[in-house]
Amino acid sequence: MKMNDLEKVKSEDLSGLRSSERRKFLGLGLAITGMYLGGTVLSLTPVKSAEAIGFENVVPVSGKYPYAPHYTMVLREHLCIDCERCMEACVAANHVPEYGSRTTILETQRPLEGHAVQTTFTPVLCNQCNNPPCVRVCPTSATFKDEKTGIVRMINDLCIGCKACMAACPYDARYFNEEPDVRAVDKCDFCWESRLSKGETTTACAEACPTGCRVFGDLADETSDVYVLLHAPETTIWVLRPESGALPNVYYINK
């Protein structure tokens, strides 16, 4: 456009902006600010009403298990000695490549009296959430919640490798398997493909655990070890990152 033509066009600078439009814009800004401010103020509500995830939602209540069998893992944290036999067994059973892992062990250290330190090892794996963020974000439904067993599984052929599920997972329990025959995100499926679907009753990691730290079973079965452990008196049960609202099926106890 030549300058002569350009001068004929209506100016788009602020001088042409009417005051009513300015007010409207300012009002919009204030509304957005107020919305965030309101959220902050609301977060100062008392603890009781702030329990966004109710007790009954995190810790299982007898007779309220959505799946049958309702596969669950209980980790008796104080028994973990980081021998990593579970990790080795998992690699062997599920062909996990060197750069990936379906389960890992975290270490925390707490200072005791004097110069002593207490080490705690925390095994972490896919929590098979009842409200899985990974499933929510998957654009191709490559990952899904098994309606029968509650296990969060993968259909490798549908995975496009966008890694949105890896970002969404609160437990960092997914990795991308780059092997030519896989090329998909891989994760713990409670050994469904490698063992449970073939008639085995427990996972490779739980079977390999020498201390009884990992206990696997059907929570809907009242005779199972997991049911007994999670319904024993004087037991503190906790889950990792309850605030995520993911409602995990992997529980931690110290008994």
Binding site: H78, I81, D82, E84, R85, Q118, T211
Partner: protein
């Protein structure tokens, strides 16, 4: 008694200047002056008698007081003597005990000296300092005691000082031995690094130092009945596992919940895991 005697004396003293004034006023009046002088003389005489009495009384009191004072001083001397004796006894007892303790410690030190010559020589300076400080403190205390005894009139100060000297020597020796033992305690005779067990599970460690320096165990507490004096022998045993320990074998001999924490508690105190081993190896590098 004294106060009553003092009244006429005071009157006499007051009368003298009073009459002196009258003297000047009543100049020329001889009779009055003489009368006044006579009165003054009488008063003076009257004053002298009680004063004499008082003098006698004071002398008597002085004699009596001397006796009392003598008896008191002798009693004080007796007490001081007894105190000196008991102090002496205490010091000599302390000296004996210190010598005994020093003897015992000396044995222990001698036994370990062969293995810890270097550590001992390094420790010499600090031992000297510690002994010097201790002897200074004891000498101060002895000095105070001696001063107090001398003040009470006792001649036994030197004896106490002698006893104190002995005690000081004993304490000095004990402190020297004790300081020597503390300084030489690093476990130079065991394995330098923690023993890492890989059977039956990886990632368990045993620190020799924690058990010798930390827990103060002697060699024969564990060797050679429980464990051979060579790393890795135990883990070759088929029954080297936690169940054996719960049954009182191996570590379970002490780690039974009474002598030391039970083997089925505090797992990660020994099982530092693969992560712990990796960290340990990194530190070594």
């Amino acid at each position: 008694m004294n106060k009553i005697m003092m009244i006429p004396l005071a009157l006499a003293l007051l009368a003298v200047p009073a009459f002196a004034v009258d003297d000047t006023v009543m100049e020329g009046n001889g009779a009055a002056v003489e009368q006044a002088a006579a009165q003054g003389e009488n008063i003076g005489k009257a004053a002298v008698e009680p004063v004499d009495d008082a003098g006698t009384a004071v002398k008597k009191i002085a004699v009596g007081g001397e006796e009392v004072a003598k008896s008191k001083v002798s009693a004080a001397l007796d007490k001081a003597g007894k105190a000196v004796d008991s102090t002496k006894a205490a010091f000599s007892e302390a000296g004996d005990k210190a010598r005994e303790a020093a003897g015992k410690m000396a044995e222990a030190v001698d036994e370990a000296t062969g293995r810890a010559k270097d550590a001992l020589s390094d420790a010499a300076d600090s031992v000297g300092t510690a002994a010097g400080k201790a002897s200074g403190a004891v000498m101060d205390a002895a000095g105070d005691t001696r001063d107090a005894v001398v003040k009470a009139g006792s001649k036994a100060g030197t004896a106490v000082a002698g006893a104190a000297g002995e005690a000081v020597d004993g304490v000095k020796a004990a402190v020297a031995k004790l300081a020597g033992k503390k300084e030489k305690s690093p476990d130079t005779y065991g394995p330098k690094k923690p023993i890492v067990w890989t059977k039956p599970v990886v990632g368990a460690v045993f620190s020799h130092k924690v058990h010798t320096v930390g827990a103060g165990l002697d060699c024969d507490s564990c060797h050679d009945d429980l464990f051979e004096r060579e790393a890795g022998i135990s883990e070759e045993s088929e029954d080297f596992n936690m169940q054996s320990m719960y049954d009182g074998e191996f570590c379970g001999s002490c780690h039974d919940g009474e002598t030391a924490f039970a083997a089925n508690t505090r797992c990660t105190a020994c099982h530092i895991g693969v992560i712990g081993i990796e960290r340990m190896n990194k530190k070594d590098q």
